[in-house]
C-alpha cells in the first residue's frame, strides 16, 4: 500500500455508506470514551466490535479496500478484547480512536486515500493494531492452555470469527468446523449480507428468535442476533456451563465454545422472563409461530427500528416555515372574521377549532427540531480526552444530562463555546502541578464536569472544574494593564470575574503561561448572546470554577416587543426591555444642541442615536416614548414612536445579502404577514455602534 491503488468506489452506494458509517463511528466514539472508564464492560466491547464489523462489511460493499482494511484489523483487535484474551488499555483505546478518525477522514474526503502521507499514517496504525493483537496475546490472562500455545498463524486464521459465525448460520452442527481456508473465502460473501438484508428488513426480522435486550439500532445487529440464535440452539447451552472447567486441548472447539459463551450472554437474558420457552429451538423453524414470546419481542425490535426515520434538516425547516406561514394566514382570516362576521356563531366555533389544531401542529413541528445533547457531548468528550492527554494531566471528565433536549440550531451554535470552555477548564482551571492539589487537600485526580439540565423553560449547561479558581487580583491587574476597564472605578469581585469575557483579554496570559492556548472567552460570550443566552461565572479561589451557559430551549422562538420607529415596525427581544416611559421635557440632557442623554430617576442613560438605523437622520423634536434597554446591567434609551405589541415571534436568520447590517440580529414575519426586523441589542451597546 505504498502507493495508492485507484479504488473503484460505487458512487451510488457511497453516499449511503457515508451516512451509515458515520452513525457507527459516532457510536464508536461515544462507546470508546466510556470503555476507557469501564474497560471490562463486555456490552460496550460487543457494540464496538459490531460497529467495526459492520463498517468492514459495508466498505467491502462499496469496494473501499482502505477502510475495509482498517476496520478489519480493528475488528480483529476488538475480537480479542471481546473474548477476554486482551485487556482493554489506553493503547487499545488510542488505536481504536485513531481507526475511527481515519475512517472518518476517508469518508469525509473521498480522495484522501490518494494522499501518500495519510496512507503512511494508516500503515502505521495498521501495524500498531497488529502489534497490539499479537504482543498482548502472549500475556493472556485466561487460564486456557490451548490458547497460550497457539502460534501466531493460528491466531490469524481465527481472526475473523464473525465471518465464521455467519457461515455457521448455514451449518447444522457446531462440531462441523469449516476448514480455516474456507473461512476467508466465505468472509467476502458473508460481509455483504448486512446491506442485502437491509433491503428487506421486516421479512428478515421475522426470522429472529433471540432477542437482545440492548437497544438494537441497525439491521446488522439483528443479523448478529440471528447468528447467535442459530449458533446457540444446537449446542443447547450446556457447553456454556461446562466451559470454565473444560480444558479441551482441541483448539478449534475451545474457540468455538468461547464464542458461544460470549454470544450466549445476551440471548440468555430473555429466558428469565419466559423460562418455559427456552431459546433452544431447531434451526429449521425459521418460520415463526405468531404467538411465541420471541416473536412479540422481535416485533418490539421492529418497532424500535421503525420509530426513527431520517429526515433531511431542510425538510423539517421547511415544514416549520410552512406551518408558521399557515398560522399567519390563519390569523389574517381570524382577524377578518372577528371584525366582519361577529354574528355568525358557527363560523366562529369552526374557526376556534381550527385555531386549536394549528397551534398543536405548530408545537409539534417545533418539537421535530429538538435533539438531545448526545452528539454534542460526545464531540466535546472526545476533545476533552485529547486535551487531557496532550497536557498530560490527571483529569476525570464526566458528563451528565446528555438526554436534555434542545433545538438543533442551538446545539450547533453551542459546540464551539463548549469546546472553548472545556479546554479552558482543563488547561487553565486544573492545576498545573499535582502537588498543588495535594497541598490544598484535593483529590490527586482533578474533575471536570459537563452538565446539562432544563430549568424554568431554559437550558443550563455547566462546565465545572475543581481546579484553582479565578484569581481576581490577577484578572483585575491584567484588565487594567490592557486598558479594558476604568482605573478610577471600584469593581466588585463578581464584576472582575466577568472581565475575562471582555474582548482582548487573554486568559492564557493571566492564569498560566501556556501561550497560544488561551481561547478568547469573549467569543464564547458573543456566541451565547447571539442565541439569546447568558454566561454566568462562579468561582472560588482554590476551589474551582463553574461556567454556566443559560440558553433558550428554542432559538427559533423569542418573546419580542414590537415597536414603531419612523413608521416602521421593529422587534426588540423582550428580555432586554427594562422599562417603557414617556419622558418629560426636563428629563432630557442636551449636548451640542442634541438630545443625547436621559435622566431616569438617579441614572443618566445615554440615548441610542437613531442614525444607527436611519442614516443621516436626526431625532425629532418631540419624542413621545423611550424604551429603556438593558444588557448586563447597563442601560440605554431608544426613542420610539409607539409600542405595538408583545408576542412570541419566530426568528429567522438574516439573509446573507444583509449580513453586514450589524444592527439587525434576525427577521420575523408578524401576524399580519409583514416582515419585521429584529434589532441586535448587544450591537447597540457596543462602542463601535457609531452613526
Amino acid at each position: 500500500m505504498d502507493n495508492y491503488q485507484e479504488l473503484n468506489i460505487d458512487q451510488e452506494f457511497w453516499n449511503d455508506f457515508i451516512v451509515e458509517a458515520f452513525e457507527h463511528i459516532d457510536d464508536i466514539e461515544t462507546n470508546v470514551i466510556s470503555l476507557e472508564q469501564n474497560p471490562d464492560d463486555m456490552e460496550i466491547i460487543h457494540t464496538m466490535f459490531r460497529a467495526f464489523h459492520t463498517i468492514k462489511g459495508l466498505s467491502g460493499f462499496v469496494e473501499h479496500t482502505v477502510i475495509q482494511n482498517i476496520s478489519h484489523k480493528t475488528e480483529t483487535l476488538m475480537d480479542y478484547c471481546r473474548k477476554g484474551e486482551l485487556a482493554v488499555n489506553t493503547k487499545i483505546v488510542d488505536a481504536i480512536l485513531k481507526s475511527s478518525d481515519y475512517i472518518k477522514r476517508l469518508c469525509e474526503d473521498v480522495d484522501s486515500y490518494k494522499d501518500k502521507s495519510f496512507l503512511d499514517q494508516i500503515e502505521v496504525l495498521l501495524k500498531v493494531l497488529e502489534d497490539l493483537a499479537n504482543v498482548e496475546e502472549i500475556s493472556v490472562e485466561k487460564p486456557a492452555p490451548a490458547v497460550k500455545t497457539e502460534t501466531e498463524q493460528d491466531l490469524q486464521a481465527e481472526a475473523p470469527p464473525v465471518s465464521s459465525m455467519e457461515a455457521d448460520v448455514v451449518e447444522e452442527k457446531p462440531s462441523e468446523e469449516n476448514p480455516t481456508e474456507e473461512e476467508s473465502v466465505e468472509e467476502e460473501t458473508a460481509e455483504e449480507e448486512p446491506i442485502l438484508v437491509k433491503r428487506d428488513l421486516e421479512a428478515f426480522v421475522n426470522e429472529i428468535f433471540i432477542i437482545e435486550d440492548e437497544e438494537i439500532t441497525s439491521t446488522d445487529k439483528a443479523e448478529a442476533a440471528k447468528e447467535e440464535s442459530a449458533k446457540v440452539e444446537p449446542t443447547k447451552t450446556e457447553p456454556i456451563k461446562e466451559e470454565p472447567t473444560k480444558t479441551e486441548p482441541v483448539e478449534e472447539e475451545l474457540i468455538k465454545e468461547e464464542e458461544v459463551k460470549t454470544e450466549a450472554k445476551v440471548p440468555a437474558q430473555e429466558p428469565v422472563k419466559e423460562p418455559a420457552k427456552e431459546i433452544i429451538r431447531p434451526t429449521e423453524t425459521q418460520k415463526v409461530e405468531p404467538k411465541s414470546p420471541e416473536v412479540s419481542s422481535a416485533k418490539k425490535i421492529v418497532s424500535s427500528n421503525e420509530d426513527y426515520m431520517k429526515v433531511a434538516n431542510h425538510k423539517i425547516d421547511h415544514l416549520v416555515d410552512m406551518i408558521g406561514e399557515l398560522i399567519i394566514n390563519q390569523s389574517l382570516i381570524d382577524q377578518y372574521i372577528s371584525s366582519n362576521y361577529t354574528q355568525d356563531n358557527q363560523l366562529i366555533v369552526n374557526m376556534s377549532g381550527f385555531l386549536r389544531i394549528t397551534r398543536e401542529l405548530q408545537s409539534l413541528s417545533m418539537s421535530l427540531r429538538m435533539v438531545s445533547f448526545k452528539s454534542t457531548f460526545q464531540k466535546v468528550s472526545r476533545i476533552a480526552r485529547d486535551t487531557i492527554q496532550e497536557l498530560n494531566k490527571d483529569v476525570e471528565f464526566v458528563t451528565s444530562g446528555d438526554n436534555t433536549e434542545i433545538d438543533r440550531v442551538v446545539t450547533e451554535k453551542l459546540l464551539d463555546p463548549l469546546v472553548h470552555l472545556i479546554k479552558n477548564a482543563i488547561s487553565h482551571g486544573v492545576e498545573e502541578n499535582v502537588q498543588d492539589r495535594i497541598t490544598s487537600g484535593k483529590n490527586k485526580k482533578a474533575k471536570v464536569e459537563l452538565n446539562a439540565y432544563n430549568k424554568r423553560g431554559k437550558i443550563f449547561i455547566e462546565v465545572k472544574d475543581d481546579g484553582r479558581g479565578i484569581n481576581t487580583d490577577i484578572v483585575y491587574k491584567k484588565a487594567l494593564e490592557k486598558g479594558l476597564i476604568d482605573p478610577n472605578k471600584t469593581y466588585s469581585e463578581e464584576e472582575i470575574k466577568e472581565f475575562i469575557l471582555l474582548p482582548g483579554f487573554s486568559t492564557a496570559a493571566v492564569v498560566d503561561n501556556i501561550s497560544g492556548r488561551g481561547v478568547g472567552m469573549d467569543v464564547v460570550k458573543t456566541q451565547i448572546l447571539k442565541i439569546g443566552g447568558k454566561v454566568n461565572i462562579e468561582s472560588t479561589l482554590g476551589k474551582g470554577s463553574v461556567f454556566t451557559l443559560e440558553v433558550p430551549v428554542n432559538h427559533a422562538i423569542m418573546n419580542g416587543t414590537i415597536i414603531e420607529m419612523r413608521g416602521q415596525y421593529f422587534i426588540i427581544p423582550t428580555m432586554n426591555v427594562k422599562e417603557i416611559l414617556q419622558p418629560h421635557e426636563e428629563q432630557w440632557i442636551f449636548t451640542q444642541g442634541k438630545r443625547t442623554m436621559l435622566k431616569v430617576r438617579e441614572d443618566i442613560v445615554p440615548i441610542v442615536p437613531i442614525s444607527i438605523f436611519f442614516k443621516g437622520e436626526k431625532l425629532e423634536e418631540h419624542v413621545p416614548l423611550v424604551i429603556l434597554l438593558e444588557v448586563d446591567g447597563e442601560l440605554k434609551a431608544l426613542p420610539i414612536t409607539n409600542v405595538i405589541n408583545r408576542q412570541e415571534v419566530v426568528v429567522k436568520p438574516v439573509g446573507e445579502e444583509f449580513s453586514s447590517l450589524k444592527y439587525i440580529s434576525g427577521m420575523s414575519i408578524l401576524g399580519t404577514g409583514r416582515v419585521s426586523l429584529i434589532l441586535d441589542i448587544d450591537y447597540l451597546f457596543k462602542k463601535e455602534a457609531k452613526v
Binding site: F614, G655, E656, L661, R674
Partner: protein
Amino acid sequence: MAITDQKLLTFSLGKEGYGVSILKVKEIIGMLEITPVPRTPEFIKGVINLRGKIIPVMDLRLKFGMEPQEYNERTCIIVAEVAINGNQRLIGVVVDMVSEVVNITSDQIEPAPEYGMSVEHNFILGIGKLKDRVVIIIDIEEVFLCDEIIKMLESV
C-alpha cells in the same frame, strides 16, 4: 452565460423592453408589502414574505438609474434564483410590467453595443431582435451582485 436558443421572460421598464432567461425565474408575483431595510443601497427596497421565506427585493428602475415610478396594479415582482457566495438564494426584482415568455434563437441575438446604453454593460448578455420589438437581455445575477451588494457582503 453563453447565448443559445432559449426562452426569455420579457418585461418592461417604462418604454424599454428587457428579457431574462426563464431558467433563472422561479415565479412572478404581484406587489406585496415591502418592509424597508434601512442602511442598504437605495435600489434595495427591502424584504418581503414569500410564503414564509424572507427574501430581499430590488427595484430595477432604481438600479438602472431611472426615475422611480409609483407602484400600480401592473407592477410585478419577478422572483429569481441567484447564487450568493455559492448559496442559492431567491431575490425579488420589481419591474413595471411583465409581458410574455418568448422563444429566441441565437441568430436573433446580437452582442450589446459598447456605449449608449442606460444599463451598465456587464449586465447585458445581448440584444434580442423579436418580430415586433427589441429586448435587452440581462443577466439577473450580475445585476444583483453589483458593486454595492458585493461591498455589503464583504464588509461582514
